[in-house]
């Protein structure tokens, strides 16, 4: 029962936050100074054309009635139409969303793998090589511009050593039959080894780029909490009892660190689902980020709005899921909330 009440309350928060989100996207894309209609028709159009387009877009109506209409459209799942692809935005996004999710998922998995393990190891051995390495990697990872890092990796592995494939999207081979939307998994399902290799090869560099960047904060969090945990009373007590260090770390310390680390991981995933824009541009990855950038180049607002909304929504949902998981896993959250 407590769980249900908790989920209901979090869902209510989610709704409130979503209203905020839609209001902001509405403000940003429709209510800024200047007349979008004049932008659409171009500088050569006369006043009557501008007026006609203004009328068609409903821009002459009062603010709240425009917002009301906009919300109505949103609820019926209509994100408008893109001028430059002339598709409904929902169709375009539907085609590109799997590309972003696949990249984001592999990047998160790789980041968790290297950052959490290095974080735990370096926390256990202060003044060691692993600690220095962790310092260097977390400092660099937080500070390096990801688009530049992507370029450097391309320069090294594609330009100089020629061991990476050309950065030309998700695959250079055949596109496997669509099941999950993940080319790598679909290729395996179809049993097409060649398609899998091509898709995986395209994934490596963008995944590594993102994993370095988002791994850095994960590493910091893991190391910080791990150090803190190792100093706590119950770990000291376990040590005093003569429990082997290995089992102290694995059974007593790590479970305590998993909660904050998984929260950070969820935040990073939420960030990735909307934040792979720069890496997508560098590697010509056909995800929603590069879609938004192309739309902006064509002054096409409906897709931008759609992408912004979708990424905010996915962030909120990932975060909510994490919150609920914590509530289930960690009894302490029940008293604190």
């Amino acid at each position: 029962m407590a769980l249900l009440a908790y989920v209901a309350r979090r869902l209510a928060y989610l709704l409130v936050a979503l209203f905020g989100v839609t209001f902001i996207t509405f403000l940003v894309t429709r209510r800024l100074p200047g007349n979008p209609a004049a932008l659409i028709v171009g500088v050569l159009a006369d006043q009557s054309t501008i007026d006609a387009v203004t009328e068609r877009l409903g821009l002459n109506e009062p603010f709240w009635s425009q917002y009301y209409k906009y919300m109505g459209q949103l609820f019926s799942g209509d994100l408008g139409e893109s001028w430059f692809t002339s598709n409904p935005v929902t169709t375009d996004i539907g085609n590109r969303w799997p590309a972003t999710v696949e990249l984001a998922s592999y990047a998160l998995a790789l980041a968790v793998l290297w950052a959490v393990s290095l974080g735990v190891i370096s926390a256990l051995r202060r003044r060691s090589l692993s600690n220095r390495l962790a310092d260097a990697l977390s400092g660099l990872g937080v500070s390096v511009p990801e688009f530049w890092l992507g370029l450097i990796l391309l320069l090294a592995f594609f330009g100089t050593w020629k061991i990476a494939p050309a950065p030309l999207g998700r695959t250079l081979g055949e596109i496997p039959p669509d099941v999950t939307g993940f080319y790598t998994i679909d290729a395996l399902i179809a049993g097409d080894w060649g398609a899998f290799r091509s898709a995986a090869a395209q994934l490596i560099l963008p995944t590594v780029t993102l994993a370095i960047v988002i791994g850095a904060p994960l590493l910091r969090i893991t190391r910080g909490f791990m150090r803190e945990t190792m100093e706590t009373g119950h770990i000291r007590f376990a040590r005093a009892l003569g429990i082997p260090r290995r089992s102290i770390v694995l059974r007593h310390a790590i479970p305590n660190v998993l909660l904050p680390v998984s929260t950070m991981g969820a935040m990073m995933y939420g960030y990735l689902l909307g934040g792979t824009v720069l890496v997508e541009v560098v590697f010509a990855w056909p995800g929603i980020g590069s879609y938004a950038v192309k739309a902006i180049e064509h002054s096409d607002f409906a897709p931008v709005q759609g992408v912004v909304l979708l990424s905010a929504l996915s962030y909120l949902i990932v975060y909510l899921t994490m919150d609920i998981l914590h509530f289930v896993v960690d009894p302490r959250t029940r008293t604190h909330s």
């Binding site: 409130v16 800024l32 511009p145 530049w148 824009v277 720069l278």
Partner: protein, 289 residues
Amino acid sequence: MSAATLLRVLARAGGSSARLGRRIACAPSFLVLAVIILVALIGPEFVRDPEGLNAGPSLSPPSGDFWFGTDKFGFDIFARVIHAARLDLTVGFSAAAIAVIIGMPLGALAAMRGGKFDSLLLRVSESLQAFPTLLLAMGIVAALDTRVVALGMRIVFLILIIALVNIPVYLRLTRSAVLPIVNSDFVLASRCAGKRDLSILRRRVIPNVLQVVFAQFSVNVAWAIQILAALSFIGLGVPLPTAEWGAMVRDGASYTIYGQWWVAVFPGLAILVTVLTLNLMADRVRYGK
């Protein structure tokens, strides 16, 4: 409480900042930052014109004449990196300053007042933070894009937009730093002694959160520089031929994989060094490392 009063209060909290100041001045990263700022201030006077066409041959590699090589127009990349330092640091510091001036007092007030005011501010900043920062900035800049053409105005708008997307960060940070202090016994004691909110804020609260806020300021300047560079990289920030680090990386991106690496590598390195220095300084202030 007006914004002006709050600012005065902030200014008067200087007593405890002397210790903080010493701590900052002793950090090695501070020295590096000082050099970077100095380069940004006076460096441009000593190098070539960053927009002087055909200063050298097009796309020539680094040499004694052109330390960082030249780009496709024959612009001197070293001169451009130095000039861009001024622009990037100006945008970074101004955007972070605006965000802290608005976000910090709001966060402190939210923590001190509590109640409806607090939860309203918290909800608003939560929804703002649901947006990936870059995407939000992209959306706003894109909507403004065709309307703001003059370079000066563009830069002002970029500063404001980057500040805007960072305000929630400060608000929540200050709020969470102030909250335990407001609920502490020594503040309760001051309350019992009949001190008013403003005096408690000045004498008890602000000196205690200054360190956290300063560290965050340093981080935030770094973020602002990263966001500006990212916006320019996707073609939304500062347009060519103005020298800006991100725009220069964009310009050099297509040459990089064909061997003309210097066009994109040096400006990117400038971003990395500047941002890393600012982050290290924040660590120093925060943990005393």
